[in-house]
């Protein structure tokens, strides 16, 4: 101790530290519910005793407490885990969502799906086989055939519109990524300046961490710490954000499902046009759905090949038959050129006169050709029904896999988030305890101050008065 007044300074440092500590607790409590807030702590250190001069001896007591700064208690490892799992979760949640929409649009199994419509169509042929030449039964058949073509067309259109919606979604995600990258770059330079000036950038760091987690969810981007307060954001091995500069990405490729295999929708760097390799995130999930071999392109192919199979198999038999008036070589279905088969499928006959139900030369009211067409439906393999069932089951399996993966990725994210919040979030009990600690420290320091004051009072006013 250098002097009696030195003790006053010790008490003063204690009061300051206690006040800072209380302020930090206040900040923590204020942000207990703030998303992305990482708890902070006042870092204090005891001040060593001042020992100067060779003559000084005796007991030396330290000089109080010093506040080093306000630490942000983040754990980069846990943050990294949340980013990785967010990226996987983003990827699978988009896939699972798309598969669920697709399989719901099939309306299978049930009474309204294409398989039920097909069965109705075959039954109508059977009825025509029993009543060849009957105008009303032929009318019912033509109506069922029209239902079938419109069901196939509607299914195909559902798939194309889902494709377009998915592309719009990816495009808006790309815009989000560019905007987020810009914000991260701006924060990078702010943080660098603040840190360089010795300021507290904790709240800016919170904001940036929140943005990089969003970036990981959307694009699967990873973060690399530069050490000077700035971070780089890496997308597929290339810098999306480097310090305070960014590089924009954009969505290239077809805007129509039809071009998905020749000119697939893909992500490129805006400046060079080189492809961006993605490892995860919503954009990668969306692009996988949009791909030329993706589930939507496969569904569109399934509708087209269903339309072609129905037309080919029905026409192959129908064209060998004769109408009641003896006309032969007639087609039942036509497929318009220049459009996808699913949309181009149309019914040729307009009434009973175009329906060739009977075999040639077997009498006007023969129904054997209609019977043969009706039996296409009961083929175990190779028929349109079997082909459609195979597609529905494959879609169901893929959707089930995507669901499982999405659930797994979701629980991995939940556990990573839980671990992160266990480490980084504010606990009210702890803050209350800290508050009490600082309060008591403040009260104690104040008492030290009073005691010194009392001692000085004794020294100044009460000494040298003996015998007065």
């Amino acid at each position: 101790m250098t002097s009696s007044f030195g003790l006053l300074n010790t008490a003063y440092t204690a009061l300051t530290a206690a006040r800072t500590g209380t302020e930090v607790v206040g900040q923590n409590i204020a942000n207990a519910a703030t998303d992305g807030y990482v708890r902070q702590r006042a870092n204090t250190v005891s001040v060593a005793a001042v020992s100067t001069g060779m003559l000084r001896s005796g007991v030396q007591v330290g000089g109080g407490v010093a506040v080093l700064g306000v630490a942000r208690l983040a754990d980069p490892l846990l943050d990294g885990r949340v980013q990785t799992t967010s990226s996987t979760n983003g990827y699978w949640s988009v896939q699972a969502g798309a598969m669920s929409t697709l399989e719901t649009s099939l309306h299978e199994p049930g009474a309204t799906g294409i398989s039920a419509t097909l069965q109705g169509f075959w039954s109508s042929w059977q009825t025509v086989a029993s009543n060849p030449g009957n105008a009303s039964q032929a009318g019912a058949l033509l109506q069922k055939a029209a239902q079938l073509t419109s069901a196939i067309g509607a299914g195909y259109r559902d798939v194309t519109s889902q494709w377009s919606q998915q592309r719009d979604q990816v495009a808006s995600s790309v815009t989000t990524v560019n905007a987020l990258a810009g914000q991260v770059a701006a924060l990078n330079s702010q943080i660098r300046q603040t840190v360089a000036a010795g300021g507290n950038a904790n709240e800016l760091l919170d904001q940036r961490a929140k943005l990089t987690t969003q970036l990981a969810d959307v694009s699967g981007a990873t973060v690399r710490d530069l050490g000077d307060g700035q971070v780089d954001v890496v997308l597929g091995g290339n810098m999306l954000v480097s310090g305070s500069t960014t590089r924009a990405i954009q969505l290239a490729g077809t805007t129509e499902l039809g071009g998905a295999s020749s000119d697939p929708a893909r992500l490129v760097w805006a400046d060079t046009g080189a492809a961006v390799q993605l490892d995860g995130g919503r954009i990668a999930g969306g692009l996988a759905v949009l791909a030329g071999t993706g589930p939507l392109a496969q569904a569109a192919d399934a509708y087209n090949s269903l339309a072609t199979t129905i037309a080919t198999q029905v026409n192959a038999i129908h064209s060998t038959g004769a109408t009641t008036s003896g006309a032969t070589g007639l087609d039942f279905f036509s497929i318009a050129a220049g459009v996808p088969a699913a949309l181009g499928l149309a019914v040729v006959p307009t009434d009973v006169s175009g329906v060739a139900a009977g075999a040639v030369g077997a009498g006007a009211l023969d129904g054997s050709i209609a019977d043969r067409i009706a039996r296409i439906g009961s083929q175990a393999t190779g028929g349109p029904d079997a082909q459609w069932a195979t597609f529905v089951v494959a879609t169901g399996s893929a959707a089930s896999t995507a669901n499982t993966q999405s659930t797994l990725a979701g629980s991995a994210l939940a556990s990573a988030t839980s671990a992160q919040s266990s480490q980084e979030s504010v606990d009210m009990d702890q803050e209350t305890t800290d508050l009490l600690t600082w309060q008591h420290a403040y009260q104690g320091a104040a008492r030290v101050l009073t005691t010194i004051d009392d001692m000085l009072d004794t020294l100044i006013n009460k000494t040298g008065l003996v015998g007065r």
Partner: protein
């Protein structure tokens, strides 16, 4: 290792747990209220395949049942017409026997028998042209009457037949070839009756007509035996189709529908789990050191 547990984490976890419990509850509720185990193919891809196959078979069997009902209509019409024809031919035979025996019968008597036979011939022709749903049952695949009223030519095609499908590889013929039952043109039973009638008018002997009518009777009853056995075949097919339809419905229900009892038990226990989650959250969350400090 003691992990730090924070109130924020606790809140987030509780919210997530309750959300998951709610989602399971919603799935079970949907299953219990709709009675369906399969809402989308991903619920059970293998079950979906089975369900689509069974539904396809059900639609086919329903159509076969309609075909069988239609076929039985045809066959009973054929049977009735043949019974009627036998009676008419029997009546004609009696008249011809009467005319052949009575050598002393006057020409007026023979003319009277001839005009009766004419009536019988017209009735027989009408019976042979019997229609079902607008189609002559003895005309096969032809779209006109089975027998021409003047030439007695049969209008059908010999090789073609009318069949009703009662299984994916089973079809039963429902018509009877009119030319087999009644003959055609000059060799038809109608032409034989005409010969007898003209012989009666001209006073010639009609005893050879008895043989002709007997031959006609034989072919008609032969046709009736055939159509009768087909009717029995159709009836068996119909019975087997209705039992198939019941089997298929129970198969479909096995694949698609939920076990009601099991579903209700699962729903109840999930409900309980959800309530427990709510209770625990409600009890644990308000706890804080602040509650105990004054």
């Amino acid at each position: 290792m003691i992990t730090r547990v924070t109130s924020t984490q606790l809140l987030a976890n509780s919210a997530q747990t309750m959300q998951a419990a709610m989602a399971r509850l919603s799935t079970l509720q949907q299953q219990a209220s709709s009675g369906k185990r399969l809402a989308v193919p991903s619920d059970d891809p293998a079950g979906t395949a089975a369900s689509m196959q069974v539904r396809g078979q059900q639609a086919a069997v329903a159509q076969y049942q309609r075909n069988a009902a239609d076929g039985m209509g045809w066959l009973s019409m054929v049977d009735g017409a043949l019974t009627n024809s036998t009676a008419l031919l029997q009546q004609a035979r009696n008249l011809v026997v009467q005319a052949a025996n009575s050598g002393a019968m006057s020409q007026a008597g023979r003319d009277a028998i001839a005009s009766q036979l004419q009536g019988i011939r017209d009735d027989l022709l009408q019976t042979a042209n019997t229609q079902y749903n607008g189609r002559s049952v003895f005309a096969g695949t032809s779209d006109t009457a089975a027998f021409d009223p003047t030439t007695y030519a049969w209008s059908g095609t010999a090789s073609a037949s009318v069949e009703r499908r009662v299984g994916s590889d089973a079809a039963i013929r429902v018509d009877v070839d009119g030319s087999t039952a009644f003959g055609t043109g000059a060799t038809s039973v109608f032409a034989s009756l005409d010969t007898i009638i003209s012989n009666l008018h001209s006073g010639a002997d009609v005893s050879s007509g008895i043989t002709a009518i007997d031959a006609g009777l034989q072919s008609v009853s032969g046709a009736q035996v055939v159509s009768g056995s087909r009717y029995a075949q159709m009836e068996r097919a119909k019975d087997s189709l209705s039992s198939q339809s019941i089997d298929l419905e129970s198969q479909r229900s096995d694949v698609e529908d939920v076990d009601t009892v099991q579903s209700l038990v699962a729903l109840q226990s999930q409900n309980l789990a959800y309530q427990a989650a709510l209770q625990v959250t409600a009890k644990a969350l308000p706890m804080s050191l602040l509650s105990f400090l004054s």
